[in-house]
Symmetry: C2
Subunit: 632 residues, 2 copies
């Protein structure tokens, strides 16, 4: 250090980033300058206490206060916004204080992709101005309406029974100045065919132009809905809930089995309808009269979820040769299914490619723009049923992998869904043989969710606690012990857990994760090789699904779940199924594009594709039997 | 009588027809030779007793027997099949023994007109033969079906939810050889537009090709239905029943009033649906499984009945300017209305011209072929609401007349509907000042129905008992008396009536009939004059409706209900509303023709047409103030 240079270094762990600093700067200022995110919801005013950092080496000017007890202070905790640097120091940023940049990124991406070129929804509204009848012209009300529609170029419309029942009253109440809502059935096969129009409803012309559409993502685990003002393409925040079918089985296979027994199909249908109805009731709190102005629903779900939503027996989905009853769905009246919407509301369900590559993937690809771009792209939706699409604007192949429930926290001793209390983030310090936990909701841990499992296994593998074979390395950690299910690693002792029992990771859990990641990875390999390419040719990797948002890329590559590619090729796109459904809600053209995507996709049944099993067996190592795939 | 000529004359009353006969011939043989119909359901075997005739003059060889008591014989009754002529004689054929030639004629006509040029129903069936799925081709079931349909030229079909729910099971049960039922929505405005197809159902391909359609005539008083095998255009006998709405009002106005109160609309709808359901249950006795193979219903009714069937508030029909909510109906799912048919059944309702010229008239005109022929034709449906159409293949005008209830037996002291016990036929012998009654069902009389009223008034008018002014001529008959409502004619004393009370015809009854016939006649005049023609220009008169079948033409002309034209210009076509509906059931082309008929018709609101009231006033005589109209 020269006399001219009175700067010094502040080191931030766990990323080991070193930033030059001057005396008197706050630790927060220094971190910001280095693009290191530390939570500070008060903006650095010292009043929220969320920017706690742990002083590991050196000293700073700081004192205890409202948010730091004497004991905290003694253990090294400081508020980054209040602590002033006065010399070299090293800080550890606890998981709780790290900004969730991933979810910011995701949110930004999702909103961006919700732009459509044209406002051309399947339901459009028209203001009709008619001359009231008199003795010289006493044509029937509907003739008058038809003429007014014809005046706007709409001839040969079919008319809903519901639209005519209240027609006489509405026409007279509104003195024959009304709003007509017309649904245009998109052509199924021949795009040249004129769309078939259907008058859904006549209503009072409101002061504003608002009318609504709703996009729905029917997931096996969660259901999300999103209201859109179709007059202006204003997108409102999505709301979601657990799919209450979950009480009848966690994965699609168990749902199909349940549906095949007695009135199981009706029961599962009424469960998911009930879940959506609950979400609609929540929407109503913010948009009190949306139902009467809701005309269109687009819904995307996997093949099984779509069948259960409509109430079509899904039995054959799981029986070889895996023939789903319906790929491309006709228009459906959701009120007939029990959905709490008006009878005039029409529902379009995304088409499925196959039994295990469903409408949610078609919708997701639509959202991802894979089909619009020249780059060779891998689209992944990781879950119990992992779906893979590889292709670009010219061609697409797809496949589903039976990953098993590990990614959803299933089949794991202390596994759980990504809910409050789940260990999601994990950092292991090999030198100190200590770990740090990031728990959803920031309370005490209850168990481990799927992304947590990936992070734990990756960190322990890097730290030498887990071997390439997925076994614990004897003596590598004091937290290893022999439990009732064999060797296990103690993540949190009972007294530091919310459930009052030890939270552990067993070797069986590791095996399950390796099986799951192997199913995915061998799937990519099979599809890539089927078109004569190799993994390195992948120019983009798009990660979709709720899982994607919390996935740590380095860790996922480390265990061999994701291919070993430069990180900048990866993108998270969040709930792309909902995003795609929202796009199709706003644009008939997007809907038609989804049909094209579906018909373009070549489906591979992996279990029946030669070579798949060999590839799968080779994945049963960390990261892979062939280390060269991961630069090893 | 010369020695060479040993023939003699037998005279038959009341028609005063004289036939040459030889000794030993039976009276039946002689009558048959002269085309005089006498009932003989046993074919002349003497075992049915239905050919009783009354010997008025001369003698025959005959004796009493099983069917004739000594007393009958003494009063002159003989069995026509058993009595042998042996010299000149005069017989009176009682009404009971006259064959109902009118109804034979009607039946013949109706069957004749049920022929369509082409078999092109709106629902057609296709046999689909598909290759069962295997691992090489595991496309969704519906894709497979769509491809098979496309192979028969059917692309871009919409698909019913009902059709897909059972699809997987039916395909597999039938090893992918099934029958598809497809509905083609006829174009509404642009006939060049390709019809919009909709897959209604997949079903087991039956051994025969049978599938059904149903035509329905929804009348204010009665409802008739008729099953048709659409594969072969085999027409089964119609079945009918009273419209059970009748408990809530006899005419359309009282139904509209009832519908406007509380849940009156729902109540009336469920009544007529209940009536049709009852008829369907009767059909099921003869055609046990017709419902699952019933795909199409065509329904015709007056404007009010159509609205009540669908459950659309009919209030404005009776409020000036008489605007019906719906003229042209969209396709309707009758199962949604509560009809006991499968959800795949589609219903097409005939379009109405105006509030009082309904789909039954459009259907009736279709059946009458008025629209196909060059002759100037008057089409009449006589009833509480009498409808009139005048026109030919080039143009049509129409109007409705508020005839009042007299033709249905309403507003008449001893009036009743044309049901067993109603006096329908009446013959008056001026010389003997006696009358003969024809009672429906051949029992004792209860009252007088509409056609009976016409016959009685005409006969008494001819016999000098009723004056041109519609008043009784004092002293003209011993059966005239002053009753509590003024002068009346005793048709049957209490001891000869089924109801145990005198059956009479009052002067007020005559007034009501004159008002009713006047409303019709002034309607014809108004329409004829509106197009610059006169009554004599009418080349055909077609009488439709249940009433037509029992109408005596001479008598109807005599009182001024029908125009004074040669009898050969008149035709009865029975329930032309049901016939037209049946034609449209069998042929899309006929359905489209009905739409053309509807749009061709120019409707006149008589009450608002200048000159109508003057014409009406002039009709308030028998037959008319202007006797020259009736050759007087």
């Amino acid at each position: 250090m020269s006399v001219e240079d009175n700067t010094f270094e502040i080191t931030f762990l766990p990323d080991n980033v070193k930033i030059q600093a001057e005396a008197g700067e706050s630790i927060m200022e220094i971190a910001n300058r280095g693009h290191i995110h530390i939570n500070a919801s008060c903006g650095g005013e010292g009043v929220c206490g969320r920017c706690q950092v742990e002083l590991r080496e050196g000293e700073v000017t700081a004192s205890p206060g409202l948010y730091l007890s004497e004991q905290d202070f003694a253990q090294g905790l400081r508020l980054a916004c209040r602590a002033k640097a006065n010399g070299p120091a090293t800080f550890y940023i606890p998981i709780e204080s790290r900004a969730d940049s991933t979810s910011f990124k995701k949110a930004t991406k999702a909103e961006e992709s919700l732009e459509v070129e044209a406002r051309d929804p399947m339901v459009r509204q028209y203001n009709l101005e008619m001359t009231p009848p008199d003795q010289a012209d006493n044509a029937p009300d509907l003739d008058r309406v038809s003429q007014a529609l014809a005046g706007q170029g709409l001839t040969d419309l079919d008319v809903e029974l519901g639209a005519i029942k209240k027609m006489p009253q509405i026409l007279r109440n509104e003195n024959f100045q009304v709003r007509a809502s017309v649904f245009f059935e998109p052509p199924l096969a021949d795009p040249q065919r004129p769309p078939y129009g259907r008058l859904l409803a006549l209503s009072k012309a409101p002061l504003d132009e608002t009318y609504y559409g709703l996009s729905v993502d029917v997931g096996t685990t969660s259901v999300w809905i999103r209201l859109v003002d179709l007059a202006t393409n204003t997108v409102f925040p999505a709301v979601g809930d657990l799919n209450s079918q979950i009480s009848f089985g966690e994965d699609v296979i168990s749902r199909i089995v349940y549906a095949s027994k007695g009135n199981g199909l009706q029961k599962l249908q009424s469960q998911v309808i009930g879940t959506i109805n609950g979400l609609l009731a929540r929407l109503e709190e913010s948009y009190p009269k949306f139902r009467e102005n809701l005309f269109l629903i687009t819904a995307a779900g996997n093949t099984t979820m779509s069948h259960l939503l409509v109430g079509v027996e899904p039995k054959n989905i799981r029986l070889s040769p895996y023939v789903p009853p319906i790929g491309s769905w006709p228009s459906i009246r959701p009120s007939f299914l029990g959905l709490d919407v008006a009878s005039h509301t029409v529902m379009k369900i995304f088409p499925a490619v196959s039994s295990y590559v469903g409408g949610d993937i078609v919708s997701g690809v639509l959202a991802s723009k894979l089909h619009e771009r020249p780059e060779l792209t891998l689209f992944i939706d990781v879950g119990t049923n992992g779906e893979i699409v590889i292709g670009n604007q010219d061609w697409m192949t797809c496949a589903a992998c039976s990953a098993g429930p590990a990614f959803e926290g299933g089949g794991v001793k202390c596994g759980m869904r990504a809910a409050p209390g789940a260990i999601e983030e994990f950092h292991y310090e090999p030198e100190r043989k200590k770990h740090h936990l990031g728990v959803i909701g920031r309370g005490l841990p209850i168990g481990v969710c799927g992304s947590g499992l990936i992070n734990i296994v990756a960190e322990l593998f890097r730290g030498g606690v887990i071997s390439k074979q997925g076994k614990y390395v004897e003596g590598s950690s004091p937290l290893l012990r022999e439990g009732e299910d064999g060797w296990e690693y103690l993540l949190a002792p009972a007294q530091e857990s919310a459930g009052g029992r030890d939270v552990v990771l067993t070797e069986i859990d590791i095996e399950n994760l390796i099986r799951a990641k192997g199913a995915m990875f061998s799937g990519y390999q099979t599809l890539v090789e089927a078109v004569g390419l190799s993994m390195g040719d992948l120019e983009r990797v798009i990660i979709a699904g709720g899982f994607g948002s919390s996935l740590n890329l380095d860790n996922a590559i480390c265990i061999g779940l994701l291919p070993n590619l430069p990180l900048e090729r990866f993108t998270y796109i969040g709930n792309s199924s909902l995003t795609g459904a929202t796009l199709a809600l706003m644009s008939t053209n997007k809907w038609l594009t989804a049909q094209e995507i579906r018909s373009k996709m070549t489906n591979f049944e992996l279990s029946e594709t030669p070579g798949y099993m060999d590839k799968y067996m080779a994945t049963q190592f960390l990261p892979h039997t062939d280390g060269s795939l991961f630069g090893l």
